[in-house]
């Protein structure tokens, strides 16, 4: 295991896409120290910014300590292994990830797990905005894997989702699952406005309160819903179909007991 500890708190953004288990594998400490990173516009090495230590344990492969709120692109395109981040981490963590596991004990920045294909990301704090959403102008969202968040998430989470599961224990911001095609998003608490806007497929399960867009229509009431092979949530749930303006067939499962304001939809059943 390689442990990286930040030598100081960073004032400008640090871009460190080299911090992946594949990049570190088979390299000595001096070789890892010489890996290039940028601090603002300066080209520096990993050894200039972090204290590196090697211990004999095998998992996790990499542990990061210190104030890392401005460190971006950790675990970019990683395929295997495990990274544990003790504290907060900056944007684009686990971007284009194709396997392995990232554990973040603090909060994650924006675009975490963006365009992810496989693997697991565990966030014990809050997830930022654009969690599992693609790069601007791109419609290739998360394709597979699992993201779990213990806290709340920001806006535009799971945009253009094409597969995989996102589980959020807290609340979610607006535009959750915007334009999603497939996959599952499960929010245990409340959602902000415009959930599932422009969705054409997939499933969003909401345990708390929610506001329904006018372009959704009620389909049925179901007693329980399956999130994945392990989890199923008992309701009852209102099932909405949408987004009609996109001719979509996405399903929105909304907890009946938490949403008395949606009772008038029952007359259409």
């Amino acid at each position: 295991m390689i442990t990286l500890t930040a030598l100081r708190s960073f004032s400008v953004p640090v871009q460190a896409p080299c911090i992946t288990p594949e990049n570190f594998a088979g390299k000595s400490i001096t070789e890892i120290k010489a890996l290039p990173v940028t601090e603002g516009n300066c080209n520096v090495t990993l050894g200039d910014l972090f204290k590196l230590e090697q211990t004999p344990e095998e998992t996790p492969n990499i542990t990061l300590n210190g104030d890392l709120g401005k460190v971006k692109r950790v675990g970019q395109a990683m395929k295997s292994g495990e990274i544990v981040i003790n504290g907060n981490i900056g944007m684009h963590t686990g971007e284009k990830m194709a396997g392995g596991k990232i554990v973040i004990t603090g909060n994650a920045g924006g675009w975490t797990g963006s365009e992810m294909k496989k693997g697991t990301i565990e966030i014990h704090g809050d997830g930022g905005d654009y969690l599992a959403s693609p790069y601007r102008g791109n419609d290739l969202g998360m394709k597979g894997g699992l993201i779990t968040v213990d806290g709340n998430v920001g806006s535009d989470v799971g945009c253009h989702l094409k597969g995989g599961i996102i589980k959020i224990k807290g609340s979610a911001g607006r535009f959750l699952g915007y334009h999603m095609n497939d996959g599952v998003i499960y929010v245990e608490k409340d959602c902000d406005v415009r959930t599932g806007a422009c969705m054409v497929g997939g499933k969003i399960v909401v345990g708390g309160t929610l506001e329904i867009l006018p372009s959704f229509t009620i389909d049925s009431i179901k007693p329980k819903v399956k999130v994945d092979n392990i989890t199923s949530v008992t309701g009852p749930f209102y099932v909405f179909l949408g987004d009609l303006s996109e001719h979509g067939t996405g399903k929105l499962f909304v907890n009946k007991s938490a949403n008395s304001a949606l009772k008038f939809y029952e007359k259409y059943l």
Partner: protein, 524 residues
């Protein structure tokens, strides 16, 4: 001796009206014809401000002291070259030629580069990247549009000649002006108001409480019967533009997305389960959707009410999707009401230089684009940068206080013609010329049509153009980097208008090609 200059371009808003007639006496504008009140305020009075900066200033012991241009340029270049991650922001009120040098400076510094559109119509640009845009030039709408929708904007105050020159009140080739109808309506309304006042005085009845959602003009189904151009205004409050509209739809604040989504459902013949959306009954929305589908050539102009309210670029995305759906039934276009006169130019110049229109990061040596990460407000909120250069903008008057506090923690360089809020806070303060008044250049109209601004009067002595000033700063930065042994860019800087006293080369008639023997023979 007075001199009249025709066809002067107005450097205020995105309309770039190019029909001004300016009278100049003793190197001063004394009269201006054809322009609006906003144009008059800047072209005749504003540019002669008493707060004009005439010499570069450097902050020493908390006070701004006048210094020589060379000293100020050296100081600014040193600040920028020493910074690990500077931010260059502004650009919307300067010309394309200066913006070009700005991109080169940002690349040389490895800095973040952003323009004012990130706090105005940046969401429109982002939505265009997501979904595309069915757009048209203002000339098209002037000649052909028979349904004009102003959504969340108030051109009567922000773009005063937009309605008069390009939409309802102009005589196009295929559509006539609605000015006379408006005047008749205005007279009838004032007559009605007088009658109401008189009857109120006689009866002494309490005025009725206005309903939360009020509609003016005839009901929308009558829009189909009305001959000529039709104008619909959608806003959260009754603005001056709403007064001149044929139909005004007052929606609840932050409900634009839901209302457009409902309109999309109606246009695509989908059933809606709810009775009201954004405070508007579905039947009313159905009539508006019918009016939109039955027009010959419709246009939606949207403003900051949509780009900067809840949902931001998603609002625009859905509005563009509505225009796309309407294009299956009729011809429909959509266009943003850009604010500053060259904010569209900043997007265009940045896009052809770097590939991206705003929110650019050069820290990796190549341009990276990500609004939310590299936009000025987000970047300053996180406190990521360590030096700032502001040109042709005044964030001091418009940015939130937290962001200004973070900006003030580090050195600040400003380039503005007069002592505005941001210049007062600067560590190095440069004077600048008023572009479009004191020097010529290229600006892009709101529909991305490039128009050449004219030089009308001479600038005060010693004050450089933005283009020349930035070129000199860039040269100095390169000199510092060469001293340090760092690699520098290879481009030779050739300002387009190096000498401000001479007319710009764009106005020169091109030299005739020399006739060779062969061509002479052919001509014979």
């Amino acid at each position: 001796m007075s001199k009249i200059i025709n066809n002067v371009v107005c450097p205020i808003c995105g309309c770039l009206c190019d029909d001004l007639e300016v009278t100049v006496e003793n190197n001063e504008i004394v009269k201006m014809k054809n322009g609006c009140a906003v144009c008059d305020a800047k072209m005749v009075h504003g540019y002669k401000s008493e707060e004009r900066i005439l010499k570069p200033l450097i902050r020493k012991d908390g006070k701004l002291i006048p210094v020589s241009m060379d000293e100020a340029i050296k100081k600014a270049a040193q600040i920028l070259a020493d910074a690990k991650y500077p931010l260059l922001f502004g650009w919307s009120s300067t010309v394309g030629e200066a913006q070009r040098i700005g991109v080169e400076l940002a690349e040389e510094l490895g800095s973040a580069l952003d323009n004012c559109c990130s706090v105005c119509h940046g969401p429109s640009v982002m939505a265009t990247q997501e979904i595309g845009i069915p757009a048209a030039t203002l000339g098209q709408t002037r000649h052909r549009a028979d349904l004009i929708v102003y959504w969340a904007c108030n051109p009567w105050a922000s773009h005063p000649r937009h309605v008069e020159r390009y939409t309802a009140f102009t005589s196009g080739r295929f559509e006539s002006s609605e000015w006379k109808n408006y005047m008749q309506r205005l007279k009838a309304a004032s007559g009605r108001k007088k009658m109401e006042m008189a009857s109120k005085r006689i009866a002494r009845v309490e005025p009725p409480i206005k309903p939360k959602v009020c509609f003016t003009g005839p009901p929308p189904q009558m829009l189909e019967q009305k001959p000529g151009r039709k104008m619909i205004v959608v806003d959260v409050r009754k603005t001056m533009t709403a007064e001149i509209a044929d139909y005004f739809l007052q929606i609840e604040p932050n409900r634009d997305y839901e209302v457009i989504e409902a309109l999309r459902c109606l246009v695509t013949d989908q059933e809606i389960d709810v009775d009201k959306v954004g405070g508007i009954p579905i039947d009313t929305l159905r009539d508006v959707a019918d009016a939109m589908m039955n027009c010959e050539f419709g246009v939606i102009y949207f403003g900051l009410g949509m780009t900067q309210s809840l949902g931001r670029f998603r609002n625009i995305e859905i509005a563009i999707a509505l225009a796309r759906d309407l294009n299956r039934k009729t011809k429909f276009v959509i266009s943003p009401m850009r604010g500053h006169f060259n904010v569209t130019g900043a997007n265009n110049v940045f896009a052809w230089q770097t590939g991206y229109p705003f929110a650019i990061d050069f820290s990796q040596g190549y341009p990276q684009f990500n609004p939310g990460e590299n936009t000025a407000v987000d970047l300053l909120k996180r406190g990521d940068n360590d030096a700032t250069l502001i040109i042709a903008a005044d964030p001091g008057a418009h940015f939130p206080s937290v962001i200004m506090q973070n900006m003030m923690k580090h050195p600040l360089i400003t380039i503005n013609p007069d002592m505005n809020a941001i210049s007062r806070l600067g560590d190095v303060v440069f004077p600048a010329q008023w572009c479009g008044i004191e020097y010529a250049g290229t600006a892009y109209r709101m529909d991305t049509v490039p128009i050449t601004l004219k030089k009308v009067v001479e600038a005060p002595p010693g004050v450089l153009t933005d283009e020349e000033l930035l070129s000199r700063i860039l040269k100095e930065v390169r000199a510092i980097k060469i001293k340090r042994g760092e690699p520098v860019g290879q481009t030779e800087i050739t300002p387009t208008h190096p000498d401000t006293t001479k007319p710009s080369p764009t106005h020169k008639t091109p030299a005739k090609p020399k006739q060779t023997k062969k061509t002479k023979e052919r001509l014979k």
